[in-house]
Amino acid sequence: MTEQPAVLSSTSALDDLTGPHGARLLHGWLTTGGPADLNEHLNRYGPPPLPRTTRRRTVAPLVRAVEDAGLTGRGGAAFPTGRKLRTVAEARGPAVVVANGMESEPASRKDEVLLALAPHLVLDGAVLAAVAVGAQVVHLCLPRTRQDQIRQLAEAVQQRRQRGIDPVPTQVHALPHHYVSSEETSLVSWLNGGDARPAVTPPRPFEKGVDSRPTLIDNVETLAHIALIARYGPTWFRRAGRPEAPGTTLVTLSGAVRQPGVYEVPMGLPLDAVLDVAGGRSAPLGAVLLGGFFGSWLAAREAMAVPFTKSALAEVGAGPGAGVVIALPESACGLVETARVLEYLAAQSAQQCGPCRLGLPAVAADFAELAAGGAGDLERLERRVGLLPGRGACRHPDGASRLAATALRVFAEDVRHHVRNGPCAGAEREPVLGVGASHAPEGRDWR
């Protein structure tokens, strides 16, 4: 996958603040062609608009602005960001802000690209959120595997400190980069000195998180949107997207598209228009995987007209996740692709909960047999898939179950073909969904 963001072809209303191609977060990059350092960031946006006084017992104007803007989390859950801000702001005692830049989804690159091109928008947003909720520290969590990024962000934070921009300090952390390490409770556990593995809830982090304090955890893209809402307001924010899903969102488009990469699109584009942003399909499509390995398969013919919003995708049994769209060409075998991902997800289990530790490898093995053309026990596979959701501390088994269940539905014809005739020709081709050379984390790998 290329990681260069390319030019957008959005049709939304343009103005100076929105940038030359409908872009907001990537506006600077599209204008200058380079990452924005602190000087350039300040020239374009000015310093973060901090409130002159912070009165206790009143809701910060930023909380209301984010609520009015209708911003939802861009890390996958699409929870209303304003409501989360308000909850943490109203909790007792000083709060903590965690900026989640872990991006553990192998098919996603958008957080990496955003942090490389507009790091100060993310840092602005984190600090503005911290002031709004009464936090005294920001923790920026990054994957240990991205050393260059860690160095760049540490430098960016240092420059801001020298210029006295932020009233709240930001600490940059390098965490283990496993699939479930980006989960909110994993971040809290690691920041509290433990493993980057999920913990049982309740308490949720917003009640009791880092240092037992109310903790706001937001994806880095969400924070960058907050930085812009703080400057230009909710009405501006709503000029892109749809009333029920306002703003723009970063997407990582891969598979059978002409120019795979990270793009910024208005929320609510029909899926085929989203793929057009990456130059359109490069081969006839059989299906799309929405939301990454944690997501849902949809048949291409049922997916293309659906608007890219949480509510519209929910009606067809899918969701935007963290903006991952993978286009599967007709020539590929959805069962083989799914089997490979399930094997990866099984290996990525935190090994804490029985239903995940035992159930995921069992489902992966059943699926591998099906993909290889074995007769298999389809009923047992379906039963095992059905028993995964809701039985782990985190949603890892739920995600694997969704992937497997939607694959069995969307590729039902292939299932029949495999059972009757053995593997199809698609099994021979190069994988569309790359899982990389990952190993199963164990012991000290989690710390």
């Binding site: 804490q352 029985g354 239903p355 995940c356 028993l387 039985r391």
Partner: protein, 70 residues
Amino acid sequence: MPKRHSLRVDPISCDGHGLCAELLPELIGLDEWGYPVLRATEVPGTLLDHARRAVAACPVLALRLDRASR
């Protein structure tokens, strides 16, 4: 005010001993590895005593009975 009782398993603590399913088969089954599968989370009043016994019997205290106002 009537209270609602609901069952919850702490999946990290649970080791699949299976006592809960023996003591409360009406609400708890086991998967093929012996880990509990809740048929329902809400506990009707008639099963409340059985539920309390199952909660107390869990050797790792992984079964919880939460009480919440309706």
